[in-house]
């Protein structure tokens, strides 16, 4: 007869005295607050041609989305989102008068909290001067949801700006999940 005892971290078992009668083993454990960020279905959202072919200004851009499934937090949490303006990667220096090498837009993270977390870029014609405070939303309960990230509301820094030619305008959206307690 073997009594196998497996001792793991966080547990303590007091060895019962071998005697007639009953003994009590108290078992206890804890779960730390944690969050898990799933893998986005698409890590790149290509919004395509940015300029109006008639006059070179910003064309209407259709919003695009991707989802981040299997994300969870086992406690209350804060979701944050921050983005950088779309900037022409090959254009060196500031664009001349009447032109921009940056396009602003709004990035939202929906499906986590009651309201979407949102951030609107505010870059100038060179992409500078963007905000640094992410848009956030907080939940008080654990959540396991698919997060939907959407880009929309594309705008040039000033109305009428023409866009400098570049095959590669690029920006980055960062989504953050953090347990709050």
């Amino acid at each position: 007869m073997k009594l196998r005892l497996i001792l793991l971290a966080g547990l303590a078992l007091t060895a019962p005295a071998l005697a007639d009668g009953t003994g009590t083993i108290t078992v206890s454990g804890s779960v730390s607050p944690a969050c898990y960020f799933g893998s986005p279905v698409a890590t790149t959202l290509n919004v395509g041609t940015l300029a109006n072919q008639a006059d070179g200004t910003l064309a209407p851009i259709t919003p695009q989305s991707t989802t981040i499934p299997s994300s969870w937090c086992n406690t209350g949490s804060t979701i944050g989102i921050i983005a950088s303006p779309l900037v022409a990667q090959s254009y060196i220096g500031s664009p001349p008068a009447g032109f921009t090498k940056a396009v602003n837009y709004t990035a939202t993270a929906a499906g986590w909290a009651t309201n979407s977390a949102s951030f609107t870029t505010t870059g100038d014609t060179s992409g500078g001067g963007n905000g640094t405070t992410p848009g956030t939303q907080t939940t008080s309960d654990p959540v396991a949801q698919t997060i939907t990230v959407t880009v929309s509301n594309f705008l040039a820094p000033s109305a009428g700006n023409r866009l400098v030619a570049d095959p590669n305008y690029s920006s980055t959206i960062t989504v953050t999940l953090a347990a709050t307690h």
């Binding site: 196998r4 078992v27 944690a34 969050c35 698409a42 300029a51 920006s171 953050t176």
Partner: protein, 197 residues
């Protein structure tokens, strides 16, 4: 309880393991998404507009045709000074080349033919173009009938107006200053393009 034959396996987990591996953490978790787009190289030019108010010796301008009121002086029978200005809006969103060209290299009689002794059949002119803060001059010297062109290299995107100034000097002819012009209709075609360097 001695004698009991029991097997107890107790497995206690200290933490809940993530199904995909140990990626769940207590600290903030971040993910990044890249947004991309593109802008094609493009140039646009509107139709030219002739500013009659600032012109001299111009009869009329309509569409893309400018008609000089009187190409020859009625006393000396040689070329009469002429000026007109043309503006057109343009845009290029990349470093580019502006080209101005003349089909015939001067205002030539149509047909040019051979001028008889003591007469001229061609009128030289110059066309000055201002664009994007730079300037170039096309000299259509009427030295011989044929195309001439001039280019202006612009190393940045530009949006704004192209300004063209057309000028004929008083008495200027292809046979020398002050030579009378053979009667007839004289013409040339000026072309402006924007394109790659």
């Amino acid at each position: 309880m001695r004698g009991a034959n029991a097997r107890i396996a107790v497995l206690l987990a200290a933490a809940i393991a993530a199904a995909a591996g140990a990626r769940a953490q207590s600290g903030p978790q971040t993910g990044q998404i890249t947004v991309t787009g593109s802008v094609d190289r493009m140039c646009i030019m509107a139709n030219p507009q002739v500013n009659l108010g600032a012109s001299t010796n111009i009869g009329q301008a309509s569409g893309g045709t400018v008609t000089i009121a009187d190409l020859s002086d009625d006393q000396q029978m040689t070329t009469k000074s002429t000026d007109f200005y043309v503006t057109l809006s343009g845009m290029c969103n990349y470093s580019h080349l502006l080209t101005i060209s003349s089909d015939r290299g001067g205002l030539w009689r149509e047909p040019a033919g051979l001028a008889t002794g003591g007469f001229a059949n061609g009128v030289p002119y110059r066309a000055t173009v201002d664009w994007g803060g730079s300037e170039t001059v096309l000299l259509a010297s009427a030295a011989g009938e044929g195309q001439v062109q001039q280019t202006l290299s612009v190393d940045q995107p530009v949006v704004g107006g192209v300004l063209l100034h057309f000028h004929i000097d008083q008495s200027a002819t292809n046979a020398g200053s002050g030579v009378p012009l053979v009667a007839g209709n004289y013409d040339d075609t000026i072309r402006l393009t924007l394109g790659p360097q």
